[in-house]
Amino acid sequence: MKNIKLVALSGSKRTIVKVDGVKIGEGFTVIAGPCSVESEEQTLETARAVKKAGADMFRGGAFKPRTSPYAFQGLGLKALKILEKAKKETGMPIVTEVLDTRDVSWVCEYADILQIGARNMQNFSLLKEAGKSNKTVLLKRGMHSTIEEWLNCAEYILNEGNPNVILCERGIRTFETYTRNTLDLSAIPAVKELTHLPVIVDPSHAVGKVSLIEPMCLAAVAAGADGLIIEVHRNPTEALSDKEQALNPRQFSDIMKKTRALYKYVTELRG
């Protein structure tokens, strides 16, 4: 693959990203939380629930990239303050998406991991700004991007001096309309062949349907992913965004048990 220098795998040394005591790339890391931070109460209740179910990190959107400008755009700074509270209470590091270069330094004051979403994967000025920060970047794969394009974007971040990048496969657009996207599971072993960076899977956005999330979580484990990022809401029916794909805490807890058990089995199997 052309021009992939810093992210290319050379030898067998893999990157382990350390975030506040959590190691991504060693063991299996689960990030969970609501699509959007809607209120302090909703966020803290969900944080407590996912922590209890065994999540390692907490996600929550403060700035939302929505298809329609009239849809809920996120609480912004207020949401960041709520996420800070959630971390203080549960101890879980915070993952949140950043949309705007002007927000990068401010989001860094509150969050532990900056997420660059699928729609912004090739926003090169945002990639450079995140590359200059001292925070880990979770880089989602664009919905119509090739693996090569995706890895080039990671290259942008490393090239600015930030070595802490986690890749995230979240489904690509195909002719299929039953599912929201098509989860490209083959991308996981492919990325593992090509780079030293850890890669996780977002089954929620990939399938967009609660019923399909569990099988995709298990498939991600089998495919060799380093972790998952899953949308969980304390009460999905009242979620302001992505309610069709949010798990309730009970469903999440159930999936966690199965996923952890399978990970243990797969690890033994691989030796």
Binding site: L77, D100, R102, D103, S105, W106, C108, E109
Partner: protein, 352 residues
């Protein structure tokens, strides 16, 4: 829109009027001790003459009188109560005020311009107490205060140590992305250096942290922020954009409470100031007295004596009570060994 704009102006005027009224009440409490009785008819007549003369345009003398009758009534009510006032340096919202309120919430903090005004106010009986910062965990001794302590006849009746947390404040509804410039006391700017440089803000020194917040509220500009206490956000109706922006979490300042009279309550910590004779081993012989008596020193600071170039004064704090025979014995010995000796007071050690 025009209606809203004008109402905002009216709100601002109301806020200013109340602030001035509060300032008037602070003076009322300060001069309480200087007059013989609460009611002073001559003075009241003088005030009414004054306000009648200054009633102008829309404000008729009869209306002014009505307002001031209420103000004077409230002033007398305040003077009749047993309110203790404590002077602090800075504007309302300063860390010294935060310290005063956490030392004793019943005290009424009165702002003073300079440290020397705090000392003078207590000496002249206008203030019951004064509260002054003596040392900071990052910056060390507060020079001006230590120098004033050397010269003063006031007594130390208490101490308190409070954590200093700096917050980024801006006027309500400010978009944090618009903030370019941040005002505060140089020490606060230095203590938040990391935050300021990470967010590419332009730091501007100001005379006081609370003063910066006050200026912000008065100016109402959207592209500037202040670094001050959480109390300032409350007092000046500002938003806290980011809490705890200091580089080091453990940032503490120790304050001393001053009074004209020594504390009557039992204490477990003492402060003293002395000068030694200019001869070999003089300081050592003083310190040995404490060592021999097994007295634990908590602070020793040396300051040049401003009136006598080349001379140094030592400010010394130690654990123990001045009612304890061991301490009394040691202090007697110290008196004999020193050229100048001043016992500053015995008070309760602050909870760490």
């Amino acid at each position: 829109m025009e209606l809203q704009k004008m109402r905002k102006k009216i709100d601002l005027i109301d806020y200013e009027m109340l602030k001035l009224l509060n300032q008037r009440m602070e003076y009322v409490l300060r001069l309480k001790k200087l007059k013989s009785s609460v009611t002073d008819t001559d003075r009241e007549l003088e005030v009414f003459q004054h306000i009648r003369r200054f009633s102008q345009h829309l404000i008729k003398p009869e209306f002014s009188e009505k307002i001031f009758r209420e103000i004077i009534k409230e002033s007398k009510r305040l003077q009749e109560q047993d309110i203790k006032v404590v002077g602090f340096q800075g504007e309302h919202g300063a860390y010294s005020e935060v310290a005063a309120l956490s030392y004793e919430p019943a005290l009424v903090p009165i702002p003073c311009v300079d440290f020397v005004d705090v000392f003078e106010g207590v000496k002249n009986n206008q203030l019951d107490y004064g509260i002054v910062p003596v040392e900071n965990s990052l910056e060390g001794a507060v020079a001006q205060v230590n120098d004033l302590l050397i010269e003063t006849d006031l007594k130390i009746t208490g101490e308190i140590s409070i954590p200093i947390h700096h917050h980024l404040l801006a006027i309500k509804e400010t978009d944090y992305r618009d903030i370019r410039v941040v005002y505060s006391h140089p020490q606060a700017l230095a203590q938040c250096h990391g935050f300021i440089s990470r967010n590419k803000l332009d730091p501007r020194p100001f005379y006081d942290t609370a003063g910066a917040a006050k200026m912000l509220a008065a100016k109402g500009a959207r592209s500037i922020a202040a670094i001050s206490s959480a109390l300032c956000a409350e007092l000046y109706n500002l938003d806290i954009i980011k809490e705890n922006i200091e580089d080091h979490e453990s940032n503490k300042t120790r304050f001393l409470v001053l009074s004209a009279e020594p504390s009557k309550a039992a204490g477990n910590k003492c402060s003293m100031i002395f000068q030694t004779r200019h001869e070999a081993g003089a300081l050592f012989r003083v310190l040995r007295i404490f060592s021999d008596a097994d007295i634990n020193l908590t602070r020793i600071e040396s300051r040049p004596v401003r009136k006598e170039p080349g001379q140094y004064a030592f400010l010394l704090d130690f654990l123990g009570s001045d009612t304890d025979a061991k301490i009394r014995g040691a202090l007697e010995k110290v008196k004999k060994e020193t050229a100048m000796f001043k016992f500053m007071g015995c008070y309760k050690e602050a909870v760490k």
